[in-house]
């Protein structure tokens, strides 16, 4: 069922809140938190199974974001680097679960675990769609998920996956072409 969406303030207002937060205004930061909580919490929760751990990670992400705001040196836009922080926190969390870690492996071939809640009331077409998603590469699948299901924009997806926005557009374009092809090809 659709979640209750907290309306995010329009961009100029959000920018002003972020600026106030960078000057130490905690109340302004709460509003920034409310605006980003839905996406960040979904991003973490769908990749980290344990609820308490997910909540701890989300808190850590926003604390780190606050620290960077106070330090005042944030060249990129807030929503791209908060997703970079989120990505790093999730990766670090995966590291604690592994006995040996190849850093390059984790960072370049990040295959996020999937803890998305079970699809409910999926009709035939949707189930077929799920089957077809498996045929995409993991990058393509991830971009489709982040764009269609988690409602991230390209900048946020780029930060979350550690890629450029140009690459994201290419991946998405290719993924949609493939999905169309597979949906037409597969038996009804």
């Amino acid at each position: 069922m659709p979640a209750k969406q907290i309306a995010s303030p329009p961009k100029p207002e959000l920018d002003a809140l972020i600026a106030a937060a960078s000057r130490g205004d905690v109340d302004a930061y709460e509003k920034v938190y409310n605006a980003f909580f839905p996406k960040i919490s979904r991003f973490v929760a769908f990749r980290v199974g344990h609820r308490q751990t997910a909540e701890d990670l989300v808190a850590d992400i926003f604390i780190k974001a606050w620290q960077f705001l106070q330090a005042g040196d944030t060249p990129l836009s807030f929503n791209s680097w908060i997703f970079t922080i989120a990505r790093n926190k999730v990766i670090d969390h995966y590291r604690t679960k592994k006995t040996s870690v190849d850093l390059a492996e984790v960072e370049n071939i990040i295959e996020y675990e999937d803890h998305t809640p079970e699809a409910i009331d999926a009709d035939l077409a949707s189930r077929k769609f799920l089957g077809v998603m498996d045929r995409l590469s993991s990058d393509q699948r991830e971009v489709i998920r982040l764009k269609f299901i988690e409602d991230l924009d390209n900048e946020e997806i780029a930060a979350a996956l550690g890629k450029t926005t140009g690459t994201i557009r290419v991946i998405q374009h290719r993924a949609i072409i493939l999905l169309k092809k597979y949906l037409e090809d597969s038996p009804a």
Partner: protein, 333 residues
């Protein structure tokens, strides 16, 4: 201004996610080639999952965030500097030295990456070394005790996270972390020996340790479980020691007030104290740059106040503190 097809698709996906319809999008953007097919695909995904709640408690998490932000603000108002690079809190006067010391080699960038590392990770030893440096550079006794408590809290969080993530594995790492927890807590008690406020904080700290450890004990088995139970015992012992200490101090205070109410001053009370419960030896755990006297009376009088002038001689002795404060380097780890 021409909008690209991808931007149109993005906009329509946003609308669909917000409850709009394909027909509505197509009406908004007529004559866009293959938009209908693309939206059909998007709608399958959206229909299956619909933007679901993460299931996480937004206000509870905010409560945690707010408390930690305000805690760090309180600490920096007390005359220490909160540096987001290192996550260190040092007395302001120490920051020059700390910057010089830590600017050696590649430590700056590594330090930022290390500050979040967990036991078992490559950079974890760096994190622990940084904590030791923090301790060495902290002169003020109260701050030192509080820092040790902070480190104890970190050890507890580390143990909790590892156990929650992997209750059956990493026994060696868990055991070591819990041992360090007990060790640091014991040091914090020693450091707090004659200070009621600090002792109360120790009691709170060990209370919390017991609560958290009891919570995760159920997830563990075998050796790990034994280690957790042993930590619970340690926490209890430490808590009892702190409570006894507190009671003695309170007793002494009451007696002093009864005998000479007009003349008791904080210094004379401290001077009169020779509380040395068997588990604590305050003078031997304190280390100072430049070998300052270790007698309890002297140190409490001289170093007991936050922001005392005693930091100046320390700076002169170090004689390398002219390095300017470096600007923050943001390492997004």
């Amino acid at each position: 201004m021409a909008i690209s097809k991808e931007d149109i698709l993005d906009d329509c996906i946003r609308r669909l996610n917000a409850g709009g319809s394909i027909a509505g999008c197509l009406a908004h953007y007529p004559h866009v080639a293959s938009l209908k097919d693309d939206l059909r695909i998007a709608s399958y995904a959206i229909r299956i999952y619909r933007i679901q709640d993460s299931g996480l408690d937004r206000s509870a998490v905010w409560g945690d965030i707010r408390r930690r932000i305000l805690d760090s603000k309180t600490r920096s108002n007390r005359g220490s500097v909160s540096s987001s690079i290192f996550n260190l809190r040092l007395p302001k006067a120490m920051f020059g030295i700390a910057t010089f010391v830590l600017a050696i080699g590649l430590v700056q960038t590594t330090a930022a990456a290390a500050s979040d590392s967990m036991p078992g990770e490559t950079l974890y030893p760096v994190k622990r070394t940084m904590e030791k440096i923090q301790l060495t550079l902290t002169i003020d006794d109260v701050q030192k005790a509080e820092l040790q408590m902070e480190h104890a809290r970190t050890r507890l969080t580390e143990a909790k996270k590892i156990i929650e993530a992997n209750p059956q594995q990493k026994t060696t790492v868990i055991k070591k972390t819990l041992e360090d927890l007990a060790d640091t807590t014991a040091k914090a008690v020693q450091q707090s020996a004659d200070n009621k406020d600090l002792l109360k904080k120790v009691v709170e700290l060990t209370d919390n340790q017991q609560a958290v450890l009891a919570g995760i004990e159920g997830m563990t088995t075998g050796d790990t479980k034994e280690a957790v139970i042993s930590s619970l015992d340690s926490a209890q012992v430490t808590k009892t020691a702190a409570e006894m200490n507190l009671a003695k101090l309170q007793d002494q205070e009451n007696r002093d007030q009864a005998s000479s109410p007009a003349t008791s001053t904080p210094e004379s009370i401290k001077g009169a104290q020779t509380i040395t419960p068997s588990s604590t030896t305050p003078s031997t755990t304190r280390t100072y740059i430049g070998d300052k006297p270790t007698s309890t009376d002297d140190t409490l009088n001289k170093f007991g106040e936050t922001g005392a002038t005693t930091t100046d001689p320390i700076i002169e002795q170090a004689s390398t503190s002219t390095a300017p404060t470096t600007t923050a380097i943001i390492n997004l780890r």
